[in-house]
Amino acid sequence: MLRYKKTIQVVILLAVVVISAFTLISGLFNKNGNPDIGDKAPDFTLRELGGDESSLSDYMGKVVIVNFWGTYCPPCVREMPLIQSYYEQYKEKGVVVLAVNENDPLVSIKAFIRQYKLTFPILLDKDTVRKQYGVTEYPTTFILDTKGKIAYKQVGEINESFIRGALTKLVKQ
């Protein structure tokens, strides 16, 4: 019995180390699941209004504005023209806008695009990506740098100085 004691000791201590490491890693990596400034933006794949599938990783290397919105949210509606005008300005400089719509009827989205003359991609989400990003209020805007990290986050309507400041800082790179 004593002969195997060493093996038993090693096995048990190894099991403790493995379980602890597992707990530590999943604990530190899963912190609330709310991506914030400095975190890598979680990748996702959604269908665009046009029907094609689009992944966040497709846009690696560009500055990406991820905006969570809906037609039933007045501040979302108010900030759209602002986003559209800056998109037109910076499109050639490698800026992409991904407007993630939550649960609107397709008809309403299409009418909205026509009304505000939006040219950036609209992605259709049913709460999946919203939960991934910890979004509880609309609008919420994430601006990612060229490496896919969240550089700016705004909960609530954005204003000109926010988007201008963010884009001038990020696009220089």
């Binding site: 019995m1 004593l2 004691k5 060493k6 038993i8 000791q9 090693v10 048990i12 201590l13 403790v16 379980i19 602890s20 707990t23 530590l24 999943s26 604990g27 530190l28 609330n32 709310n34 914030d36 959604l46 269908r47 209004l49 809906g70 037609t71 039933y72 007045p74 509606v77 719509n101 939550e102 649960n103 609107d104 009827p105 397709l106 008809v107 309403s108 299409k110 009418a111 259709l124 989400d125 049913k126 709460d127 999946t128 939960k131 910890g134 509880t136």
Partner: protein
């Protein structure tokens, strides 16, 4: 300096042995007459080496009961700290990163940063539980193996000092009225006489001439180790709860008629209909009657569970659903499908139109066309009605006008559905004409639909022919959706724990050693792990039946009075 561990009986003991494994003679401290340290029967518990390796050091740390108590104390203290501010999981939809700082200031901010807002979920708390688990395993293993060895190979004839230094001792002469003093045969005779008396008390008796070992209820010594195994299973099960798919506890509202996705699962649940029934006046106890009290008698959701087989989770695409089960969910009578439980929790009255079948009437020709089905959640965009074409240009679930008079929708819920059609057909301009249709009569009035549609309103009419054409959801039923796959293991661990506790508490391990030297000196030593009074009483009883008149108090040889 090499420590000599060879006992005078000839047996070679491992280093660290307190009492000789063979004859029980104390290897150190020979002059003393104090009661012996009987833990683990004096067997060497750990190998003492000069240069303990890392493994030895870590093992020794976790095998210490003192360390275990400290760990438990720290865990309890930190748990208590978790009660200062409400935990994250008591709220719905707050952002913990800001909530605590805003409401409790600097203390709140640090409370959140250190992880106390989700005390049981933090990595450091789980690590403490893992350390307690490790301590449980290592403490038990370190003790149970030597104990098992010691108890499995017991000698009948022990050294005299082993007997005289027990906590229950009797030294006396052979009762002369029954036995002939001085003869070896008398000693054997006494042993033979005592054997059935002891067996009647439940002892297993082993004899060796004029020496005797009676033992009973050894199994109770294993009780603590069994309850430790139960605790370890319990702790492991708790840790397993953190794995994805093993635990869920959420509250979801289900509007009548719509399959709603259950997040983190491939399932959709449809509330076919919800019923609430109240007690009639007659059914109420007399004190309650006449007060206009509405006491609910029944909440029931007729539920159908679907599994999504394709196109799940993306908006704009209808998921492909396959029905898997259905159940009438009542309070405490949940739907149960492969571990997914749906309990009736709450309900709200949320009357809304789900879909409406409408007809188009052309007053010019007095023809009625249709019907077409208008959904209020995701309506189709193009309809052919008779010789007309209706294209849906815009749709507002809850139509209203803002201060500028522009239309917008107040929410996603179809509480005031408004459809903006572009109509093409005979008698209409080439690029069509706009026709606004409000599904609810009250909205037609509120927003003056006919005035909005102008000339078109005189010619065309869109509407349902009867209430049968209108599907209405009256209620939203709130269900508590739960998954808890660790429950069976928690039960198993808990039951093992109770078994171990019962084994250890309700029985005691008792041993009685007896030797008769030179045919006249009787020496008895007895030991138990608890309830010394009990064993003294039992021994006194046996001795009295054998002719030795003695009270249990006289058997007491010091140590704790228990």
């Amino acid at each position: 300096m090499i420590h000599n561990t060879k006992c005078e009986c000839g047996h070679q003991n491992p280093v660290g042995t307190v009492l000789c494994e063979n004859c029980g003679k104390p290897l150190e401290d020979e002059a003393n007459t104090a009661p012996l340290e009987m833990r683990y029967d004096g067997v060497a518990r750990r190998s003492q080496r000069e240069n303990p390796s890392i493994i030895d050091r870590v093992w020794r740390f976790f095998s210490s009961v003192k360390v275990a108590i400290y760990l438990i104390g720290i865990t309890t203290g930190l748990s208590a700290l978790g009660t200062i501010y409400p935990q994250e999981n008591t709220f719905l939809g707050i952002d913990p990163a800001t909530h605590y700082a805003e409401n409790y200031g600097v203390l709140g901010e640090w409370y959140y940063r250190l992880g106390f807002t989700d005390t049981f979920g933090t990595w450091w708390f789980k690590l403490l539980l893992i350390m307690i688990g490790a301590s449980l395993v290592i403490c038990s293993l370190d003790r149970v193996l030597p104990l098992y060895r010691a108890l499995s190979k017991q000698q009948v004839r022990k050294h005299l000092s082993f007997l005289t230094r027990q906590r229950v001792v009797y030294r006396g002469e052979l009762p002369s009225d029954r036995y002939m003093s001085g003869s070896e045969a008398s000693g054997i005779q006494l042993v033979t006489d005592l054997t059935p008396l002891l067996k009647k008390k439940g002892y297993k008796v082993h004899t060796d001439g004029s020496a005797l070992l009676a033992e009973k209820h050894r199994f109770s010594r294993w009780g603590p180790y069994i309850n430790h195994i139960g605790l370890i299973i319990f702790l492991l099960a708790l840790l397993f709860r953190g794995l994805p798919g093993w635990y869920m506890d959420q509250y979801i509202g289900f509007v009548e008629g719509e399959p709603v996705a259950i997040p983190d699962t491939p399932y959709y649940l449809k509330n076919e209909s919800f019923t609430v029934q109240y007690y009639t006046e007659k059914e109420l106890p007399t004190e309650f009657r006449g007060q206009g009290r509405m006491v609910p008698k029944l909440y029931e959701t007729k539920a159908v569970l679907y599994e999504c087989t394709a196109d799940c989770g993306m908006s704009g695409v209808e998921p492909v659903l396959k029905e898997v089960t259905q159940h009438d969910i009542q309070v405490n009578k949940p739907l149960n499908y492969r571990g997914l439980l749906a309990y009736q929790f709450d309900y709200r009255e949320t009357p809304q139109i789900r879909a409406i079948r409408v007809y188009l009437t052309d007053h010019k020709t007095e023809e009625r066309y249709g019907p077409i089905e208008l959904s209020t959640t995701n309506p189709k965009e193009q309809f052919d009605v008779g010789s007309f074409e209706l294209i849906l240009k815009d749709y507002y679930p809850e139509f209203d006008l803002n201060e500028n008079g522009t239309p917008y929708t107040k929410s996603r819920s179809p509480l005031a559905p408004a459809y903006i059609f572009l109509m093409h057909g005979p008698g209409l301009p080439a690029d069509g004409e706009i026709y606004i249709y409000f599904a609810r009569e009250i909205d037609k009035q509120r927003f003056s639909q006919d005035k909005l549609n102008g000339q078109l309103a005189e010619r065309f009419e869109i509407g349902a022919s009867s209430m049968d054409d209108v599907s209405i959801s009256q209620y939203t039923s709130y269900l508590n959706i739960r998954v808890d796959r660790v429950l069976p293991y928690l039960f198993a661990g808990g039951i093992l724990f109770i078994i171990g506790v019962v084994m250890g508490v309700y029985w005691q391990h008792r041993r009685i050693w007896l030797r008769i030297d030179e045919g006249k000196e009787i020496t008895i030593g007895a030991h138990t792990n608890k309830n010394w009074f009990g064993i003294r009483k039992e021994l006194a009883d046996v001795l009295q039946k054998a002719g030795i008149r003695i009270d249990q108090k006289q058997l007491d040889n010091g140590g704790n009075r228990k």
